[in-house]
């Protein structure tokens, strides 16, 4: 078992208390899945009371490493040391007993349970006879909530809570189990910029209370803002450590393995006539909810309109309505004065609409089909790929060869199953298919989600090229960075409503507030007052920051009085 000892990490004044603080070491961790090496002799040392960031691209092996650490996977080789002693975790239970907690990227919460039930699960306190003692759990939740200013109702159902609060429940879950090392796996992926700032503050608070944090991310800005140490992982290997003061470009090139140009070179837009118009569009979900609620906008030829918003605010339904995939659509969608509402998907595609769906493996590709076949999914029945009822495989392969070269798809052959490709290459296949015919409208939903940085650069260039070619382009992205990078105009959706359309170059903070439902005018006004209140030295003008500092101070004062068992 672990002996308590006085913390050696950075701590606040109160050193009289004995707090268990862990030093965590991963030595030579290797994890293979068949022939795939997900982790290759990884060494990481997490010092007590530090925020240690694992930086790497999607698919670099960060999550695998953490699943090994959390006992979900057994390492093929290597060992884990807790306070210098080797340990073996046969399951998450062992890891939790050793003081390691994890907040998964996809929350591990049971939607129909209350907060208290979720927190209690697996570490239940019981009365005689195995009866649950949820009061005890409620008390613990209250205690932690008060300490960190979480404001979580123990009796609320998880499914009724916003994502940000759900994440706090996950953190509470770990803290109730006395986690001394908290692993956060891509925690900001689902949050608004404001929620993200609050999370970063929570992380700082946790640190000041002696909890070490392993922060897994590929977002450089957040990593720089909060980390003490950064370990960069590329293709399953540690490629080096960096300090948070390193520049974004340095970190990015370490992450990718070559110099990358993070800013997209794009000529100013040259908008022409507005050929795509959406008027009073409403989409009604099977639940009766208006998931897209009476929105109108238009896109000009040679312009990129980006639809921003937190996931689940109607973006999916909007794109699906344009494609003809939604049933209950009211209003009108005009492309070159042609009505698209009520037309079949095939009609819409033939009208010259290119569409990159948000989930390529679900809607964009058929994984078991070859790359060549996937490249003609929308035109399999047209010349030159088909004549009458027969297909022409030679033409299909020939087409594949051209597209693969043109879009730099890294594959030995076009006849391989599309599912075997990496995320970035899969996305290139989808993009190649959709851009390979003359378009009158191009829609790309989450064009670079789960795609490596190298491919992002490429895909972004292609999107801009399509714009410069004179096509109206609509981008849907939940990544604010991407939106700001690509857009000529930005439309923000919130709960199915169009909050407003703002020009490119609008500040991140304004967009963030709009994503939370504020109109552009009040968002501007709000950030203006905030900017006056904060010192610009910080460089990040946020709504939550100054307030959070005062709460963390109060929380620190609370913590002095409570006993930690």
């Amino acid at each position: 078992m672990l002996r308590p000892y006085v913390p050696s990490g950075p701590r606040d004044s109160d050193t009289s208390r004995l707090v268990r603080v862990l030093k965590l070491e991963l030595k030579g961790i290797t994890k293979r899945f068949g022939s795939l090496v997900a982790n290759d002799h990884i060494d990481v040392v997490v010092e007590p009371g530090q925020i240690h960031c694992l930086l790497g691209e999607n698919g670099a092996g960060k999550s695998t490493l953490m699943n090994v650490l959390y006992g979900l996977y057994e390492p093929t080789e290597g060992e884990i040391l807790v306070d210098g002693k080797p340990v073996t975790f046969r399951g998450p239970g062992d890891a939790m007993a050793a003081g390691i907690g994890m907040v998964h990227q996809h929350f591990m919460l049971i939607p129909v349970f209350t907060v208290a039930e979720n927190v209690a699960l697996g570490a239940e306190t019981t009365k005689a006879g195995g009866f649950l003692n949820l009061d005890d759990t409620r008390r613990k939740i209250k205690e932690i909530s008060d300490r960190y200013g979480f404001d979580v109702d123990p009796d609320a159902l998880i499914e009724d809570l916003p994502v940000g609060v759900q994440q706090r429940v996950e953190i509470i879950k770990a803290l109730v189990r006395d986690a001394k090392v908290l692993i956060l796996d891509e925690p900001t992926a689902v949050l608004t910029p404001q929620d993200t700032e609050e999370l970063l503050d929570i992380m700082r608070q946790l640190k000041s209370h002696g909890t070490s944090i392993v922060f897994i991310s590929h977002k450089l800005r957040e990593v720089k803002a909060v980390s003490d140490t950064i370990t960069v992982i590329r293709r399953g290997k540690v490629v080096g450590t960096a300090s948070p003061s390193s520049s974004t470009t340095e970190l990015a090139s370490m992450m990718v393995g070559r110099a990358v140009n993070l800013t997209l070179d794009k000529a100013p837009a040259n908008p022409q006539e507005r050929t795509f118009q959406v008027k009073d569009l409403t989409v009604i979900a099977p639940s009766g909810q208006h998931v897209v609620d009476n929105i109108s906008f238009d896109i000009a030829r040679g312009e990129i309109l980006a639809i921003a918003g937190v996931q689940g605010n109607g973006q999916t339904e909007l794109t699906e309505a344009i494609l003809g995939l939604q049933d209950r659509v009211h209003g009108s969608i005009l492309l070159d004065d042609e009505e698209l509402v009520g037309r079949s998907v095939k009609d819409v595609l033939n009208a010259g609409v290119g569409f990159v769906p948000e989930d390529r493996s679900l809607d964009g590709l058929i994984g078991t089909f070859s790359i060549a076949e996937n490249l003609i999914l929308d035109r399999y029945d047209q010349a030159p790929f088909a004549s009458g009822i027969s297909m022409n495989p030679a033409k299909v392969l020939e087409n594949a060869k051209t597209r693969i070269d043109e879009f730099d798809v890294r594959t030995p052959s076009g006849s391989l199953a599309a599912g075997t490709l990496s995320g970035g290459n899969q996305q290139k296949v989808v993009m190649a298919r959709e851009l390979s015919r003359p378009l009158r409208l191009f829609i790309a939903s989450q064009p670079t989600r789960g795609v490596d940085v190298g491919s992002i650069e490429f895909l972004h260039k292609r999107i801009v090229a399509e714009r410069d070619h004179g096509t109206p382009v609509m981008i849907v992205s939940t990544e604010l960075d991407e939106v700001m990078e690509l857009a000529d105009r930005i439309a923000v959706l919130y709960k199915g409503k169009l909050v407003g359309i703002v020009p490119a170059g609008t500040g991140r903070d304004v967009l963030g507030l709009m994503m939370a439902g504020l109109s552009p005018e009040s968002a501007h006004a709000d950030t203006a007052t905030k900017n006056q209140a904060t010192t610009p030295a910080d460089g990040r003008a946020t709504a939550a920051r100054p307030v959070q500092e005062s709460t963390s101070g109060a929380a620190g004062a609370n913590a002095v009085g409570e006993n930690n068992d």
Binding site: T126, T192, S287, V310
Partner: protein, 450 residues
Amino acid sequence: MSTTATSPVPGPGKSGQGKSGQATPQPDTNHKPAQSGKPVTWKLPVTLAVLAVVAFIFFGLLGPQGSAKFGVSSGGDFFQLPAIEVPAFLSGIVLSVILLVLAGYALALKANRNRRPPRWLPAVFTVIFVVAFLIWVVGGARTPSISLAGLIAGSVTLAVPIVFGSLSGVLCERAGVVNIAIEGQLLGGAFTAALVASLTHNPYAGLLAAAVAGALVSMVLALFSIKYVVNQIIVGVVLNVLVSGLTGFLFSTVMQSDKAKYNSPGRLPIIDIPVLSGIPVIGPILFKQSVVGYLMYVAVIVIWIGLFKTKWGLRVRAVGEHPQAADTLGIKVNATRFWNVTLGGAVAGIGGSFFTLVAIDSFTKEISGGRGFIALAAMILGRWNPIGAFFAALLFGFADNLQSIVTIIGTPVPSQFMAMLPYVVTVFAVAGLVGRSRPPAADGIPYVKG
């Protein structure tokens, strides 16, 4: 087509607001959808309206002119209540008008305020409908008199195996394994109970053996669906056919060869609790039962408490809702599922013993007669809740019993129509008309790590 982005709309929520010292413009807090969760549909109001109109025409306008007499007390009761006699036509009109009003209220709620009717409404509607139906049936019979006590006691008796079966279903599906094999578990229990009780001359040994047999059938289901990840529906169906064939074969080869030795289990005695069993109507139901009958009440309550009030239950439900989450908290998902399915089988096995140790004292082919499937419907109608399943099973038992009583007293309604009733109720139940029924999220989905 992807429908990923419909549910929880992440907003600023409670964070950020309130903590801010400055007067932040509140980001859209009044936009709280009134119909959170399930949509309000026309399904329920329209169904109620149709039923009410049917009731008005048949039970009301075309109702019998005589009177219907319902006996309340039976001979053995320690005090006697007078029989209730109602004029059939008049009460038919009155009750069906009440039904029309209720249906109208539901329609108006939906039309004007887009709200679903209050929870009590469908329940009250059902009760009144059933009463009107009873009066109509009895009033039109050749001998317009039935014993209410007998009707209800008979319903409970017929419901016993269905209750056990549905409890088995609840135990399995709450842990995330679909149990189509309830029928096989009942049948296996019935057969084994008869065989073991005959051989040992001890019906209690038969009862125990039935539980073991049900558990064994269930273990096959558990093994294939959990360890070998075979489609759970298919394993269940195959098990039903297997048990049916196996018991049928053993019945005709072994049991028929020496009926006295292999197929005369003897009955479990009816345990009559003095005084209490003399209470009219509810006395015989609660206090004049065989061991199996008493076990039924115990099982319903114990399983309900177990599932919703204990650590075990919390874990079982977690495994059925989100196995991965349970796994990350150190709960052994597949072991939990395995033992729950096994336990469910044992419960169903005990239910099966009712056929051969209480109802009839011998085994015949297919003695369970499809009640395992009715039990499945009872579980759904009872919303995967032991108590709900119990009452749903009672409803099926009632329909079953009514059919035989109606045949005896001789009504103009063909008995085939009555025989249809349980299945009509089942269809309505499974169609989800009766209200929101949401199965455990991971029901039927195998959990494979990694």
